[in-house]
Structure formats: C-alpha cells, structure tokens
Symmetry: C2
Subunit: 762 residues, 2 copies
C-alpha cells in the first residue's frame, strides 16, 4: 500500500515494550535520595478573603523542612494568556482547591500533619458557579485586580467576570434570515469533563550548588515548564533543565502546576522535593474541559441551503483563565462546522466562576461547538424533511471555501468521508426493530480539526557506526509520536528503522519543541525531523564527496552508503563517513531542521478579540452511530460506530487505529458517561469509581474508514487527527438516539435519567 | 592585562562550588533502586593457563543474580591500538589482576562470597616482570595468539613479547659522533607511577526494555566508553548512552574498564549493576605510567654544540598494550628535548611483562624521555664545563626548527622561559652553605609538550531569555575545562559569563568530543566553542536583520542586543530574537562548531612504526629547582621551585596557577616519592599509606613565571599546558641534587636510600 520503505508500515512502536513490561519510568518512579515530600495547602472555600496565615505551629514539627506561602516568593503574575495567576494566592482564594501554602517534609505523613497545623483565617465571600450568573451585574467579582494583570493575548471587553470576548462575522445576518424559509433556534449545553489519565500529576525538582534546577515530571511540554519556572523563580533559562518522564496519559491535561511548587521548594531547601497528586487532588485541582452554553439560530431555504448562522458561545473557565481565551477562539472557529453559510455571526464569551480551572483537553473547544452544530444540523434536517446525509452533502465545504477567520481551506475531504461512512452502513436502509423491544436509531455527524500549528525543531545525528539518533524536544504522550519521528528519520536518511533511536524531551539536550498537543506532532515534528534528516544526509554526501574526491552532485545514497551514482562500487558506508568526521574532518554529522507554519493570520476586519492562528492543514471526519435504546431504563447501547477519517498519508496503521479507538472512546464517555458533578463549588465525584469512564463493555468495535490521500502540505503527505477523531462522536450518538426514540437531549452527557425525563418516563 | 571582557579574568569556576560544598555527584553517589553490586574475580597468578572454571557453587548462593565468564560473551578482541584484550580472559591470565569472571549480586557481601566460591583451576606458567628479560629469546611468551589480534595502529616488528617498535631518524649518526669532541653514554630508568586520583573507578550501567544502555561513570571520554561498549556487546551506538559523572581526578588514568563489566552484566540481568573499585583493586588493576629504560649516547663539540643523539627507549607496557604504542611514540617524539641536533637516531620498543597494564598518565611518555634527556644535558654540561643554562641557550630550538617527526615548530618560546626562570633565581649566584650543615644545589631542566590534537565539536544555544548554553561532550577533570569553555562562549557571543551554562559529557545530548587529555581542551574545545558561538551570533544577526527589515551587514552586537550599527536604538535583544525564533521563524538559535587539527602527518621516510600526529602548537617550559640535601639521612628538601611557562593567551589565571601547582606537585612525587613496588608481579603498596604522594609539607611555594604571548593558532591565542608543567620537574630536581652533593641518581625516584648508597653512606 505504501510506496515507502518505513512509512505506512506497522513497525514496532518505540514506547510499547517498556510500557507493557513495566519498565517505563514515570515521574513518581524516579529515585532521589534525601528527597522531601511536598504537599500543598488548598482552600476549603470556593471564594474567601485570606485574613491571616499562621504557619508557626507547622514549622515546629520535627521533619518539616520548609513551610511557604505567597510571602516567600516574588509576587509574579503569570498565566497561559491572561496573567491572572500567582504561585500562591495572597489576597483571596477563588476556588475550592486554590493554593494557599505548601510544606516540604521528610515524608508524606509529616507533610500532611504540617498542613493541618497551618492556620488560615478566611472571610467567606459570596460565590458564583454558573457562567451566566457570573456575568450578571450583581455577581460577586472573582478578580478585582483584573486590570492589573497583564495579558499577552489581545483580549477585548474584559469586564467583571468576563475574562474575554471574541467575535467572527461575515455577510449580513439580517439578509440571511430574510432569505430563509425556516429559522430554528436552540440552546445546547455541555458539562465539565476530566481527561482522567491513568497517571496523576507528579514532579520532582532538584536545585544544585551551581544554581542549576532540574525538574523531572509528567508533562506535554518540557520547554513550557522551563519558561514558567524561569519566570516564577527569576532564574536564567539556561540554568533550568526540564526532563519529561514517561507520560501516563495527557490528552491536553498534563499541563503541570505542581512542578512550580516542587521547584520553588527545592530552590529554598536545596534538597530534592517531590509532589505527586492523589487521584482526588488531581481531579479537584487540574484542568477540565470547559463547560459551555451555546445558542444557535439558523436560517435555511426549503431545499436545505443554509442562509444564516448566528452562534453564541459562553464558556466557563473556572477560577483562572488559563487556556480559556484560545479554547474559546477555537470553539468559535468551529462554530459553523464544515458547512458553507454566506451570513455568519459568531460570538464567544469566557466567564470566570468559583470552580476548578478549565483548560486544554483533546479537542480544545471543538467538541462543545461540534455538539451544538451537528445537533442543530440534525434538527434542521428533521424540520425540513431532508435526509441528514443529503443536508450535509448540500452544504458541505469544498476546496478553497473560507473558514470563519477568513482563511481558506486548501483541501476539503469532507464529501469523501461522508461517502465512505454512508457506504459502510448502507445509509438509508431501515433501522429495523429488534426482537428485544428496544428501539434502534442511526445518527450522523461531521467535523474537522486543524493540525500543524506552532514551532518544532529537531537534530539528527549519524553515529560513527552509521546508526542514527533523532534528538527532539517532543514528548510521547501515547499515540506513537516517537515511532513516527523515527520512521521519518529512517525513511529520509535511508537507515533501517531499528537503527534509529529517539533522544527526547530534555531541555538541556534536545532542541526547542512547543508542545505535544493540538494534533500537531505528526505534522510539525514530522517536518522538522524530515528537514534535519535531509540536512544530515546532505552532510554525509558532502563529506563522502570529499573523501572520494568526487563531486557531491555525482553521488547518491542507498543501503546505508554514499556512492558515485555511475559507479556504485565506489562508495563509503555511512559508518565510514561518520567515523572519519569525528576523527579528522569537520566534526560529527549533525543535521538540523526546524518547521513552523506561517505566522498567525493578521487580525482581519471581521475578527474581534482573539485571532486564530493560521493552520497549514485540516482533517475532516464523519462518524455514524447506530444505537439501541431501552425506553424503560433509558439505557443506550452503541451497536456500531463508523469512523471515516481524512488522514493524508498513513504513517503507522496500528498507531492510527489506536488513536481513533482511543479518541472515539473518549467521545463516547463525553456523550454518555463522564461528568464532573459539583455542589457549591466542591467536586463530588473526584475518583474513578464515581466518575465514570467507558470500560470495554461500553464500547462497540469501532469501525475505521480512512481516506488516505497524501496532503501536499504535510511531511510525506501526513496530517494529524488526534483531536478530529473525537469531535463529532457525541453528536452522532445524540442524533442516533433521537432517530431511535424521537427525544432530543440538548445537554451532555445523555444519561438515562435525562432520557427518561425526555420520554416522560420519569 | 587582558583586552577581553571575560577571557583572562578570574571568573568563578563552574566546578568549584559543587566541589567545595559536597554537592558534586560522583559515579558512586548515583542512586539506582534495585541496583546490583558487581564484583570481578581476578587472577591470583601473574601468568597461568586456565584449565577450568566452575561457577556452579557461586550461582547457588541466595542473592547472586548472575555469574559470568568469557564463555558468556562473544570473543571480541579490543584494545586502544592493538586488539590484544578480551572482556574476560579465556585461555590464560597474564597478570595478577586479570579478569577471569564476574558476579552481580544484591549486595557487596553476597558478591564477595560468590567470588570466593568460583573455582578456577590454573596451571601456573613461568612469568617475566622486567622488559629487558621479556625481550630475551627464552622469555615466556605472554601473547601466543599475538598474530591473531588485529591492530588499528601500524605496528611493525611485532615479535615475541615485543608489542611494537618505533623509529625516527635523520642525519647520519656516524658523522655526528665523528664530529664530536666528547661522547657520553648513559642509562636512565624510571619506575611505575600511579595517578592516585582521590576517586577510584566507579561505573553504573542500566539496560532498559527498549534495548537502550545507559552508563554513568567516572571517565575522561564518554564517547570512547560508548565505542568500546558498542563493540563488546555488539550494540548500535545510537542505543548506548554514556554520561560522565563528576570526576574526582583523572590525570589520564580515568580510562575506564569496569564499565565494560557493569554494562555486560546489566545487559544480561536487565537490572542496574554498579561496580566501584576499592583503593587496593584500583591501584592493582588500573593504569600506571610506563616504567622505562633509556640509553642515550650524545656527541658534542667542546663549545657545547650537539652533533649526535642516539636515543633508545624500552617501555614496559605490562600485560596488555593499551595506549603503549602511542605513549612510546610520544616518548620518542620528546627524545632529544627542545634541542637542535643534526644527526639523530631514536628507537623505541614496547615490551609485554606479567604486570599491571601501563597506560596513559599526564605527560604520556614525555616525563620518561625528559628525565633522560635533561639529565643527559646536565651531565654533558658538567663534562664540558659549560654552564647548564648556557648549554641550553646554545642548543635550544628556535622558530621553524624541525621536530623528530619532520614537522617544524611554528613558534618556539624556549629562550623566553629560560631567561625568565634564570632571572627569578639570579642564575649564577653561589648556592651558599646553610648553617644546618646540609648541602644546597640548583638545577635546571626544560621541556615542551604539544597541544591541540584530535577532534572537538560544540553546540551553542541561545535561550529565549537571551542566556546561553554550551553543549559539549567534554568532561571536566579538574583544571577548569568547563570554565574556560563558558568564558570563550561568553566572550564570543557577548553575553555575561554568569548567563552561560555548560551542558556536558552525555553522548545522547552533546556532540562528539574525543577526550579530556593530551593538553588539548583549552585549545580544541576552545576553538569548537568559539566557532559554535560565532555561528550562533551569526544566526542571531540574520534573524534580527529579518525582524528589523535590515541588511545583516548593517548590524552589530553589544549589550546582549543586535542592532543597526548606524542607529543603535533600532535593535532587538538576544532574548527577543531567540523567543521569536522558537515561536515562528526558523527554529531555535543553535550554533555548531567543530575543530580538528590537520590530519596525521603522512608517514615520512624517516619514521618507522608509529607516526605521531601533527600538532598545531607546543608549549615550552623551564623549571629550576633549589634543594637542600641532608647527607646523613639522604633527605631532600625542595627550597624553591621556579616554573617558567610559555602559555599563549592566559584564559583563567587562577585555573592556570592551579594547573601548574598540581602538575609540579605530581612531578615532585614522581621525582622523590611515588613508586609502585612489585614483588613477583604482585603490587605491594596498593594503598595511599604505603604509596607516598606528596603532602603539603613536601611542597614548597611553587613560583610561576608566565610568558603570555598569544598563539596565532590558538582560540584567542590560547594553548594547553596540562602536561608541559610536569615534564621537566623531576629532571630539574635531580640536577639540583647533583649540584648539591655531586651524586647522580640515574633511576627514579630519588629516594633517601638510593642517595645514601650513591654517597657511600649506606
């Protein structure tokens, strides 16, 4: 199937053997003699003023080496886009879990005992937990000093609890609605959703006598950790080394915070400090998918042609903005789905509430938007009496159609995914009525997700025995990032895959890499490794030409040799060239490569607030769900899940399949099961017993259909689909449920109790 | 004194704070949970055939995880130049200490118990311990399979126990002796000398489920360790990571062997294995300075002009050749000192004996040659009645004079060092007679040593905050290698020294570096770091030009900024440029540099055997010793030690002073105290109680005189003197002792008993 020697093949994955044998070293596995245990004192209140903190009793306990509060550190404001965070809160706490103080002690028991002895006087304040309430004029203001925080993001209309606002618009909405034969208007809401990675957050920090900090941790970006620690401790970045340990699941949520505390306490104590979160603390204080409220008003002609699309999204960012502004922007970017509509207005608002911080989670605003868009499209098809598949064919984007931010899609493979998915289920055949009395239904939903944003770089070294190392700042978070990078190097250099080793995720030893996120690694790291491998190959050729006293233009490579194309016997092995390079000539064979997409789209007239960066490519997907609903219990069984994906060049079929299965499973959890339940700002199901993630019995065989069509922009035609796979899953399931029982659930997740209520069975 | 911002200044040394605070991590400090202790079973006989090895009893002990012999590994022959070694001996043992088997056990007690239960049947063979005896036709042959071993060195005349032979010659010796008015002939001998570093050898190896080996150890070259392990275990070099821990003294002797055993056992057990040598085992089984026998026959005219120089050197390499062939070649390279002689014959032979392996030790053959040459020159001056200083002025080399290998010295600063040293002591004044009845004397000796051989490379990274990292494979062994490299980067980039961090000695993360040895680091790493820094600075300028929309030719740098030379306000900080580079543009600022001197001198007609590589520069030195000798006890007190050194550009005055003090101290130990005493092939003083190294009471204040004259070939004019400092020390002391009491000791060390015997007092 593949024209390549290594790409497209199911080579053994680099991360699989250590993972299945238990050999992988996670952050908490790392030995550190004399290591102290760090623990954080967190707010028990959702919103309260701090009147006094008394650490004197805690400091007296034997074995306590350090007790710190905000007063022990510079009052640095930081944040992903809006600088609304500090290392420890000083003035007031803003959610149940906010960091108030921390201790470092000889063991966990002593640390916990010390936490209990820190006396904090609070004055409780009125709190607000829902984003609409937060935006009312009488709502308690969560960030009074809002104006004082700096933002590196162009955030407009910051006021009260509104952290930021964004708007895209083109055409004329009034005209669009006037042209419409039907106008429908609906509200769709989503819930907080936790990544529920198996490994909780963990970090170990050491600070040495030379003034160098080393941090080992579970993270998706060692370079971002380096940047924040440098800022918080006012340290030169050259002296901060961050090493990524094996990541036991990331999904966007492995944006560390506890490393700040471990590093700060290592800096003060000059001893190693480790902090590992319990499952409860992890779920209570790390990042969740933004809850959202979306109102859509759609105008369409009788034949299904969309004429107007008015989309208003409100996202709940919790106590701090974190990634919120750009997640909101990306939610709005996906606000009209992959459909052409001449008149569009899209508005997003981000609200602070006194809850856990919302943040990045696979999909990054897309699943919330998709849920609203694809439900609305299904409702429209029923209203107009047009087949949902036909409605999508009719309005679906094509090559060159504009995105909401004014850019144009270079290539749109939407129709191909629709056709392929429809073919798989023989779309249009009757759903049938099973003998068990349950109801069957089928639902379809589409989506797309960009890939390729932000910068990557790589170094490729050819060793004196002709084997190679790919030196990259990237960290593997599960889908096979290391394997694909090694495949690209092997393919480009012409070296067997087994001879390529990945050297990764160490800010000292590996070149800059932005983050393992945003469906970007196959695309960006793929490009950077390709370029570095080409550079190394060129260097091999140049050195070989010198050694062979030949012109470099006359040389070719093959079988791990550089040789004279017209006389293949006259050549040198890569090993010979590399060995000589180390000994005499111009130094070792070190190829460099860097890739970055074009700079962000300049602010256009029709964009207000947060701009969405330009992306070099987009993957399109169609999911079809077949469900069986028990109207007595409200139970939903997924019978089939057809996932048809536009994928460019397939790099590793096994890894791709795993990526789809994992993403769709997470989408099924989002649709039916996973919900973080809050009561008065307190998370009530902060464990994996009460927070339900899908198990093997909840998941059907996920059927894959791939549109393999190399993307001209991608490395060897590849693109990323890490997030696209998840976008339309919940929508397809909801549409199938409606198809089965005629009840439309507008609020995720679709739980039995909601369904029974909708069916008037409760 | 210095025209530079950073070079030539006593900036705080990078290695000093961790060393004085105890924060440095030596190889044995490294934690490794579940680590096994490795121990090696060594031969109790100097020469014996192995009839049988029975490990069955040892394997039965609880806690023993592995027992291995040569049968468990491929029969790979390896060695520095001659491939005469194997991981474990199979056929026969060749010295008391040869590796026969090894165990890995849960702790050291169990490992030692297991060693005792390994039953080895030996058939003892006649042994030979002196190199002249070893070369006799009837001597027991130590390497019967000699012809089967491969050599990467052009070793001629290998026969019997003669490992190799080397010869340089030019002119006509017969003519030279005919022209001479005086001919003198003497034999000078030296003893085995141990580097006696404070930290013994230690290595920890881990082998992971992905097939990657990691070795932490005390070494002078991580890349050489990588190469040997790859060969021994037949592993791709890309999968072997070697990390250098803090080195507690090297001096050439930190060429590891135990890492081979640790790695081999980690490979078999899949568990971490550590081996740390006790002081006894370290002295018995690591490398010593070659004992030597030198015969010199010299012809000179009455006016002191040298006419003929016949030098024959026999070195004792012990059981294996190791560095012997090139140490012999370097000894012969120094065979006529820094003196012009038209007719020269130099011959060297390397003999195997049944003793500990001789190897690299600061000076690398030079101290042995210097001892003979400078003693001979002193005898000649007495014979001819010419002042020793005058004799050296008369015959001393000048710019462009030829070396023994046919190359020419680019610059000779010998006369300057002679003048400076003579001035310091007011040469020619009477020595005086002290009131204590002891005898005073003064002695002079000269020497030179090359620097700059072999390849170095470096990477210089500019971080997003404008600070910098120097990424280099070099490992600090004490004299300040890291500090000088950071100074060069700071000077070249124009960044404060404090903002530069060294990232070093890790084969995964740092580019190729040959070895910290051969007085080469300041020169070679200096060049590589300079080039990499220039490359990084050029990259900063290019990026800044793009951002400023200016021509790169119009830009300049200063104050950590790149700016338009004619409008300095229009500029960007390094931080701004570097941050932008990571985010959008062409990837991070990574400068590369590599330096290597010209390839080895092609074999010339007048060189037989081992060629000596071409060196880009040489440092010249003169030492003058003033001593006081007690003729009743034979005790020698050094009153003054004047060390006058040709140094090029001084990079770090404090480090330079330490380098001289340390080298001269080692030279004093070589002259008077340190001797490894063997009896029947067994080392009798394998500890630091009976093996005497100089303490503070043995050492006078060492007076430094530096000829600071930037070397056109060096980085910013610098050159290396790590070995030059040691070369003439023993010779100067011996000449002073003769001057004091008229007794000439021809055999090092000059101990009280030898002196009393020479004075007929014993």
């Amino acid at each position: 199937m593949s024209e390549y020697a290594v790409l497209g093949k199911n080579v053994p994955r680099i991360d699989s053997k250590p993972k299945v044998t238990g050999d992988s070293k996670y952050a908490d596995d790392r030995a550190a003699p004399g290591c102290l245990t760090g623990r954080i004192l967190r707010s028990p209140h959702p919103h309260a003023r701090i009147l006094n903190i008394d650490t004197s009793q805690a400091e007296k306990i034997k074995g306590v080496k350090l007790v710190v509060t905000g007063n022990d550190f510079p009052n640095v404001h930081f944040g992903q886009w809006i600088f609304d965070e500090t290392l420890f809160v000083r003035d007031k706490v803003r959610y149940t879990g906010d960091e108030v103080a921390a201790v470092a002690a000889i063991d966990d028991d002593v640390a916990r005992e010390a936490l209990e002895l820190i006396r904090v006087e609070y004055e409780e304040l009125p709190a607000v937990f829902d984003p609409e309430g937060a935006l009312r004029p009488d709502a308690p203001v969560i960030h009074e000093d809002f104006e004082k925080t700096k933002a590196i993001f162009d955030v407009r209309d910051r006021q009260g609890n509104q952290a930021c606002k964004t708007r895209f618009h083109h055409g004329d909405l009034d005209v669009g609605f006037k042209e419409a034969d039907e106008v429908i208007e609906n509200r769709f809401t989503t819930h907080p959703h936790h990544p529920a990675y198996l490994e909780t957050h963990s970090a170990l920090a050491e600070y040495d006598a030379s003034g160098n900090m080393t941090v080992w941790l579970t993270t998706q970006s060692v370079f971002k950790v380096q940047e924040v620690i440098g800022k918080l401790l006012d340290m030169p970045l050259s002296r901060i080394r961050v090493i990524g340990s094996t990541v036991g699941g990331g999904f966007g949520g492995k944006k560390p915070r506890i490393d700040h505390y471990a590093a700060a306490m290592a800096y003060k104590t000059r001893k190693p400090v480790r902090i590992t979160l319990s499952r409860e603390e992890d779920m209570e204080t790390t990042y969740q998918r933004h809850p959202s409220i979306v109102d859509i008003k759609t105008g369409a002609k009788k034949d299904g042609t969309l004429t107007a699309w008015d989309f208003r999204m409100l996202m709940d960012t919790g106590a701090y903005a974190d990634h919120g502004p750009s997640i909101l922007a990306m939610g709005c970017f996906h606000a009209r789905g992959p459909y052409k509509t001449p008149n569009v207005n899209i508005e997003g608002r981000l609200a602070y509430t006194n809850k856990t911080i919302s943040g990045a989670f696979r999909g990054y605003g897309n699943p919330q938007a998709n849920w609203a868009v694809e439900s609305q499209m299904d409702i429209l098809s029923r209203t107009l009496g047009i087949d949902p598949l036909e409605l999508r064919y009719k309005n679906g984007m094509g090559d060159g159609d504009p995105m909401v931010n004014g850019q144009r899609y270079p290539e749109v493979n939407l129709r191909e995914t629709l056709e392929s998915a429809a073919e798989a289920v023989d779309w249009g055949k009757a759903a049938g009525t099973p003998a068990n009395g349950k109801k069957r239904g089928i639902g379809i939903a589409c989506g797309s997700h960009p890939s390729g944003g932000m910068g990557s770089s790589a170094i490729v070294k050819v060793m004196p025995d002709g084997t190679a190392q790919v030196v990259s700042g990237v960290i593997e978070i599960g889908p096979g990032e290391y394997t694909i990078a090694a495949q690209v190097a092997a393919e480009t250099l012409g070296v067997p895959y087994e001879k390529v080793r990945m050297v990764t995720a160490d800010t000292d030893g590996t070149p800059y890499e932005n983050i393992t996120a945003a469906s970007r690694i196959t695309f960006n790291v793929g490009h950077a490794v390709r370029l570095a491998s080409e550079d190394a190959r060129n260097e091999l050729l140049a050195r070989a030409a010198e050694m062979l006293e030949a012109d470099v233009e006359d040389l070719d490579t093959g079988d791990e040799r550089a040789f004279i194309a017209s006389a293949p016997d006259r050549g040198l092995s890569y090993a010979d060239v590399s060995k000589a390079a180390n000994i005499h000539l111009k130094g070792p064979i070190i190829g460099k490569g860097a890739y970055s997409p074009s700079p962000p789209t300049p602010a256009l007239e029709n964009i207000e607030g947060s701009a969405v960066h330009g992306f070099p490519t987009h993957a399109f997907v169609t999911h079809i769900a077949e469900v069986e609903v028990d109207e007595d219990t409200g139970e939903i069984e997924i019978l089939r899940m057809i996932c048809s994906h536009d994928i460019g060049q397939i790099m590793h079929p096994g890894g791709l399949g795993g990526q789809v299965d994992g993403g769709v499973t997470q989408g099924i959890g989002y649709a039916l099961l996973e919900e973080m339940v809050y009561d008065g700002g307190v998370l009530k199901n902060a464990d994996l017993v009460d927070y339900l993630i899908p198990n093997s019995l909840d998941i059907p065989t996920i059927e894959h259909r791939f549109i393999e069509k190399p993307d001209p922009a991608g490395p060897y035609g590849a693109k990323g689909i890490g997030e696209a796979v998840l976008a339309p899953t919940a929508s397809a399931i909801a549409n199938a449920v409606y198809d089965a029982v005629g009840a439309r659930i507008m609020d995720l997740p679709i739980t039995p109790d909601k369904l029974l209520r909708a069916l008037d069975r409760m």
